[in-house]
Structure formats: C-alpha cells, structure tokens
Amino acid sequence: MDIMFIVGAVLFLILAPILGGLLTGCDRVLTARFQSRVGPPLLQPFYDVAKLWHKEKAFSNPVEIIFTTAYLVLIAFSGAMLATGGNLLFVFFSLALAHTFLILAAYSANAPYAHIGAERELLSVMILEPILILFAAGCFLVTGSFDTYHMLIQDVPGIIYLPGVFIVFIAVLTLKLRKSPFDISTSHHAHQELVKGVTSSLSGRSLAKVEIAHWYEMMIFLSMILLFFAGYPVLSAVAIILVFLLEIVIDNIFPRVTWKMTVKSLWIVTLVFGVGNIVVLGILGGIV
C-alpha cells in the first residue's frame, strides 16, 4: 500500500460527499425541469443536511444513533477501500455490513412503517447480492484477482468482457439510488404507503447521517462504472454522466412497482444478463 493509495482514500472521503451532494442537487433540479417546475437551488441537499444536523436530538430507540453512525462510517470505509483499488469482494461485504446497520436502525424502532421499510431494504440488499457477487466473479475471471486495482490497469476495458454484468448493474443502480420504479424501501417522496420506510423513525442528526451515507454510496456505485471503462477517462466520465441522466429519466417515466415485481424483474435481468455473461466468460475459460 503506497502513499498514493492513502491519498486516494482521503480524497474520496472528502470529495465524495461534496460531489454526491452536488449530484443530488442536480438530480433535484433536473427532475423539477422534467416536471415543468423550477426546482430547488443546486445546493439544497447541503441546506437540508445542515438543517437536520441542528435539529433536536430525538429518537425512538437510542441505539439508532450508533447504528446510523456505523452505516455512515462503513459506507465511507467501503468507498475509501474502493478508491484505493482494494478488493472488490471486500468492498461489497463491507457495504452489506453497512446496510445491515441501516436495516437494524430501522428495525430497532419497532414501528410498523419503519419495520416494513427495513424488510424491504433487506429485500433490496438481497436483490443486490447476486449481481455484486457476479460482478466480483466477473472481475476475477477477467483479471485473476478481486482487486479493483487490477481491473483498472487492464488494457481492454472491462465492458468488453462484462457487457451483461454492466446491463444488470445499470438496472440495480435504479434500486440503489432509490429511484422509481424500484424505490421500494424508502419512498423518496413519502407520498406512498411507506412514509419514508427505513428512515421513517429517524430524525435530525441520524437522518443527516443516512443522507450523507447515501451520497457516499451514490459515488461508490457511480465510480464503479469506471471499472467497466478503465483506461479511458473521457469515456468513463461520459458513461457516468449518461448513466446518471438515464437514472433520472427512468425515475421520471416510471411509477413505482411492488417489491414482488422488483425482485422478479431485477432477478430475471440478473439471471439472463449477469449469469449469462459469467457463464459465457467461464466457458471461454476466463481471460487469465
């Protein structure tokens, strides 16, 4: 681990929330424009978080303070790990752990809405798990290692070998960014049956932490797109922007679906494209 890696990690820890917040702001402005509205100021997400930070300390179960902190810290940690070219599998495990904490925070309130949010968040972690493992497996088949570092120094961009995985990745990104049609666990707008689901019993600072963690997570998943286009910085940037735009558009042209439809559709996509991709790669004997 040389110094560059540490610098990378630190940069990620500082820059990701800033970029993530800005992107969220862009998202909200663009969404508003798609809906024929003016929308909030670009910096609105930061105002929101700042406000939440200064709210009264109130909770439905004191453990949620520690759980949300854990969620934030671990997400940031996974991001830092990814930024240092660390082990992809490990990044995923640590993300899963982070989400477990978020889910536990929701469970701990023992309130029906938070509880159902927790169950649905759990379902979405479950939905996500196969594709993440397949993604890691794909990287391994391509580079012979789980390290993102090796993926990044590939000569041929990963998308050539892993197009199917990429497609699934885009699909689950909708779930990850909590966008329609798959925002099953925290209806972002709260006009749905869940009343904010997972975060419904969190308030003030806890909620702010979840929000920041969400920015981190957004950056983590967006930067994973880099892995598919390693070696082509311009192409990667274009891809990330396009994917992000695509997600916003998708958010605006779909109603929300039920969790059953979410599981079915995403797993079908995973099975067809993800598993299909890995099988083909496996039959071809991997790249190494």
């Binding site: 671990l74 159902i116 798990e129 497996a137």
Partner: protein, 648 residues
C-alpha cells in the same frame, strides 16, 4: 511406555465411554455434575494436547493386536444393528427394519466372507483436518454436554409429561463423543464404519428421548436415512475390497495415496452418498430438521460438532480424490444445490431451531460443494467453514435453548427486544448470528475462500451463480432475525429468571471462541490448513501466499477496529435526547403498546418479519428439491460406475 500422543488418543477414545458407563449408573445430580465436569476437563485437555502435537507434525501411530480391537468393534457394530432392529420391531417401523436387516447381512458378509485381510496398517492418524475435528469435538462437544447439565434440569421442569431419564441421556451424550473421536482418529475404514454406526444409533436414541409420538417418528426418520448412508459406506468398502491391488485400500492414508483414482470412482460415489446422508444434504435433509424435537443440547451436538460434521469430515477427507472425478463435481453440485434450496427454505421459517437447522444444512452444503471440488482452495474453504460453523452454530443453539426456557418460546417473532430483556443471551446471539454471515466475521471469510475455489473449478460459473443467489437468501433470513433482537420493546419486559451456571459458562466460553476464531483466522490458515494441504498431496502445494494478502488483512483489521470502536461508542456514547413515540400514522400507543384501532378495539402495534411463504415455503420448495437432488445423486452414481475422470 506409550508415546504421549497415544495416551491422549486413548483418553479421548476411552474416557467418554467410561464416563458414559458411570453416568448411566449414578443417579444423583451432584455426582453427575462432578463426573461430567471432571470428564469434560480431561477431554478438553487431551484434545488440545493432541491437536497441538498434530499441528506440529502429523501423528500417525500403529498398534499391535488390532485384530481383537477390530473384533470388539465388529461386535459393537452388530449390537448397533440389533438394537435398531429390535426397536423397529417394537415400534413396527418397516423401512428401518428392512434397512437394518440389510445392513446386518452386509456386515456379516464383510466380516466372514470378505477379504478384509489384516494387512498391516497405521492405526491412528491425526492430520490437520482430524486435529481440527478433535478440537471441535473435544471443546464444543464437551461444552454442550456441560450446558446440558443445567439445561436438562429446566427441560424437565417445562416438559411435564416426559419421563426423566437423565442418566440415559448423559450416557448417550458422552458415548456419542467417543464415537466421534473414533471416527476422526481411526485410519481403518472398517473401524470408521463402526464409529459411524454408533453415531447413528446415539443420534437415533437421543432424538427419541422424549418418546412422544412425534419424537419417535422423527427418530425413525433419522435412523432410516442414516442407515442408507451406512449401507452405502459398507458397499463402498465392498467395492474397495474388490479392487485388485497390493495396497490396503481400507487404510485411509493408503487410499488417499492410491494413484489410480479412476478405479476408485464407484466406492467414491458410495462414500459420497454416505457423507450426504449424514451431512443431511438434500434429499436427506428432513432427518435433521426433524431432529429438533430433541432437547436443545442434542440439536446443538448434532448440528455443530458431531453427527453432521462426521458426514462432511468424510467428504473433506476424500476431497483430493473427488477433485479428479466427475463424481466430485456432481457431489459439489448436490452440495451447492442444497445450499441454495435450504437457504431459501430458512427464509420461510420462524421457529428459531428450524432456521438454525436449515442454515446448518446450507452450510454443510457449501462444505460439501467445496469437498466435491476438492482443489486446494476448496479444501481450505471447507475447513474454514467447518470451524466457523461449528463454533457459531453451537453458540446459537445454546442461546436459543436458554432463551426458550426464559421466554417460553423458540419462535423468532417472540424474540423482539431480546437485547433489553435478556442482555447476555441476546448479546451472545448477536455474536453468533454475526459470525454466521457478517463481515469481518468468520463465515464471510470462508465464503470468500469458497468463491475463489469455485471460480477456478470446472463448471465454476454454475457454482458462482448458485452461491450468489444462495448467499442472498442467507443475508435475508439472518438479518431479519438480528433485527428482531434490537427492537425497542412495546411490551413490559418479562420477569427475570437466573440462568443456570453451566449454561452461562458454556454460552460465554462459546461466545469467546467465536470471537477468537474470527480474530485468529489468519493463524488458523497458516498454522493449520496450509500445512495440512501441503502435506496430503504433493500436487496440492499452495505455497505460502494463500488467498489472502497483507492488505486484505489490514482491511479486515481496520473493519474490526471500526466495529470495536462502534461497540465502545454504544456503551459510552451519550443517550441524551428525547425519545419519541414510534410513528403510527398519528395514533398513539398506551403503556401496553396498544393503539386504538377500528371498531373501537385496542390492538397491539405489532410487527412481524417476512417469511415469503408463497415462494420459499416448505410446501413449495421441498418436493422439487428432492426431485432435483435425487436426480443429481443418480447421475453421480452413474458417473461413478462409468468412471469418468476430469482431464486437467
């Protein structure tokens, strides 16, 4: 003078049996407690010593006069078959009767007409693998027995109709340990078969302990399924004996070193089936899920350290042979499929013991898959899984048992807010559950190892896909359980009942063991597994690199550090702030946790987990799984008879 290793081995083999006899004789609780305590200390001491010795250098010892030991064991084996036969007649169970008759005949043929010539062979071998098993049996097994001392007292207070037969119970428990030690220490397949049959008998009797009709039904199911395994084992020996070679194939060491693996496919297939039955793989899983009618220590023993581990031990033992055949690949497929199916099934269960049972089967499935693939990485993953699973699962069973006696239910739905109600047990449960699936705890590392192993195996992509979905299910059912424990209480807490000292002790030690294993896993890998792998087969040489690198360790360490930090934060952090009522759509709850609902009725604001029964219920999944796994087994046997090899 015997070498100290031999003394240790003899202690392990004989002390539990003798203790069993004594326990069967003496009635008073005090005598039993003292006796069991002393025996446990001796066993733990001896197993630690033996394992330590074996880790320095593999032990292999040859005794003289093995003929009469063989004879003794043969008589024991006949005895086992006769007991089962007798009980089957008494309870009018046709299938077990039939199978035990077949088994009896096979054994007799083997003994009197077989060609089991007394070639000289090593009597005991203690490799890294057996050392691990010895430690598991020695420490976890005895801890469970100690736990049972307190548990059985409560058990009879709760289960009024059940006749008190504690002497019988404890005698069987210790006998079980002896048999297990034998199974992992013997080098002669005939002897192993004998130990194998004794474990079948013990588990049968223990499952049927309460003698309720349900218990008897499940006990007989266990016995007939395991008898199939026994028969397959015997058949494997038959086929081994028919191979014309000067090498004594009944010696495990010689068998492993036998170069012409293509000749071994048929016995390997039978051994695979034997292992599958004992490890409760699909389609034989129902005996293990049925076994939870037994008192919890029995379940713990069966699940974590003995019975099922015997099955996978056998498979892992022969993994190097499996790795070269298609039998192995199909064995692995069965295991992987079992992992997938039972992980899904576990989602639909709310009975804590049943969840644990399915998760056991799932983990064994993963181990079986690794054993079937049999490459170096796979074996490493398998051994890691065996270790982590044994400690975490034993801990969980003990916790569930103790909790059940406190709250009067083993339903996960009733465990809400357990962390407030029973802090110690719940904390241990949290440790156990985390150990089962969360990073940076043990199982996850093993899963990782398994992933790498699968990736380099033939048909690896199939295994990857199965693992990907299976582990998704795993996350689901563990997390929802974990969530229950952390819930805020809406109800007044239950009254406090003191935990029996033996239960407390075992649970705490087990908890420490789980954490210890997780922290010490690099040592386990370098100190135990790699030497074992390097030792068993030259082509297995893995070097020192292993699958983990330095930075991974650093990362794991960092993660553990973060967690530690958070735990400390949880203890020291300020809890000041206002507690607001849970959001109930504007409704408020009263002190009983109820709100005013429609029709003027007060209702409890109750939350329950999802069980997705329409997708993952037993009704939906069991039958298709049996069919699929049955087909896989048949294909495996056919491949065995065709002797198809993997060309590398």
């Amino acid at each position: 003078m015997y070498p100290p290793e031999l003394i240790a081995i003899l202690i392990l083999l004989l002390v539990p049996v003798s203790a069993a006899v004594l326990l069967a004789v003496f009635k008073p609780d005090l005598v039993r407690n003292v006796l069991a305590g002393i025996t446990s200390v001796i066993i733990i001491g001896a197993s630690v010593f033996l394992a330590w010795k074996a880790l320095i250098a593999p032990v292999s010892l040859t005794l003289e006069h093995t003929e009469w030991i063989g004879m003794l064991l043969f008589i024991a084996e006949i005895g086992v078959a006769l007991v089962i036969l007798g009980l089957s007649i008494k309870y009018r169970k046709i299938l077990p009767l039939l199978l035990s008759v077949i088994q009896l005949i096979l054994i007799l043929i083997l003994e009197f007409f077989g060609i089991a010539g007394p070639h000289a062979m090593t009597t005991f071998t203690v490799t890294g693998l057996s050392a691990v098993m010895v430690l598991i049996i020695g420490i976890i097994g005895t801890l469970i027995c100690v736990y049972a001392l307190g548990y059985m007292k409560d058990y009879h207070d709760h289960q009024i109709g059940v006749p008190v037969r504690k002497r019988y119970f404890f005698a069987l428990m210790f006998l079980f340990l002896s048999a297990m030690f034998g199974l992992v220490l013997f080098n002669n397949l005939m002897w192993i078969l004998c130990a194998w049959e004794v474990t079948t008998l013990c588990s049968f009797l223990l499952i049927g302990y309460s003698r309720t009709p349900e218990a008897m039904k499940n006990a007989f199911r266990a016995v007939w399924m395991n008898l199939i395994g026994g028969i397959c084992f015997t058949l494997a020996i038959f086929f081994l004996l028919r191979i014309n070679t000067p090498v004594n194939l009944l010696s495990v060491t010689d068998l492993l070193a036998f170069p012409n693996v293509s000749a071994l496919t048929i016995p390997l297939a039978f051994i695979a089936v034997a292992g599958l039955t004992k490890a409760a793989q699909m389609p034989f899983s129902t005996w293990l899920t049925g076994a939870m009618v037994a008192p919890t220590p029995v379940s713990a023993l069966l699940h974590s350290s003995t019975m099922v581990k015997a099955g996978v031990y056998l498979l892992v033992l022969f993994a190097p042979l499996f790795s070269q055949t298609w039998v192995g690949i199909f064995l692995a497929l069965i295991g992987a499929f079992t992992f997938l199916a039972t992980s899904a099934l576990a989602i639909s269960q709310s009975n804590a013991k049943k969840v644990l049972a399915y998760s056991t089967i799932a983990n064994l499935g993963l181990i079986t898959a690794c054993a079937g693939i049999g490459t170096a990485e796979a074996i490493m993953a398998a051994i890691l899984l065996i270790i982590f699973h044994a400690v975490a699962k034993a801990l969980l069973f003990l916790c569930v048992g103790a909790v059940e006696h406190k709250i009067g239910s083993r339903d996960i739905e009733d465990m809400d807010g357990l962390l407030v109600r029973l802090p110690l047990l719940a904390t241990m449960m949290v440790i156990g559950i985390s150990g089962m699936y969360l990073a940076p705890f043990g199982m996850l590392i093993s899963k990782w190892a398994a992933l790498e192993a699968f990736l380099t195996a033939p048909l690896g992509y199939v295994f990857i896909a199965i693992l990907a979905f299976g582990s998704a299910f795993t996350i689901f059912f563990w997390t929802k359980w974990l969530g229950k424990l952390f819930m805020r209480m809406n109800r007044p807490p239950a009254e406090k009942i003191a935990l029996h000292i033996s239960e407390k002790l075992s649970v705490i030690v087990m908890g420490v063991l789980v954490i210890g294993c997780c922290l010490g896993f690099p040592a386990i890998i370098t100190g135990v597994i790699i030497p074992y792998l390097n030792g068993i087969h030259p082509y297995f040489y893995l070097g020192n690199k292993g699958f983990f690198y330095f930075d991974t360790l650093v990362m794991l360490g960092l993660m553990a550090f973060i967690l530690l930090f958070l735990v400390i934060g949880a203890f020291l952090g300020s809890r000041e702030g206002r507690t607001i009522a849970p959001y109930l759509g504007g409704r408020a709850v009263d002190s009983e946790g109820r709100f005013l609902g429609s029709l003027g009725v007060y209702k409890e604001a109750k939350t329950s987990n999802y069980y997705l029964e329409e997708y993952f219920g037993e009704k939906v999944l069991l039958k298709p799984s049996w069919v699929i796994s049955g087909v896989l087994i048949i294909v495996m046997l056919v491949l065995g008879f065709m002797g198809v090899m993997i060309w590398i």
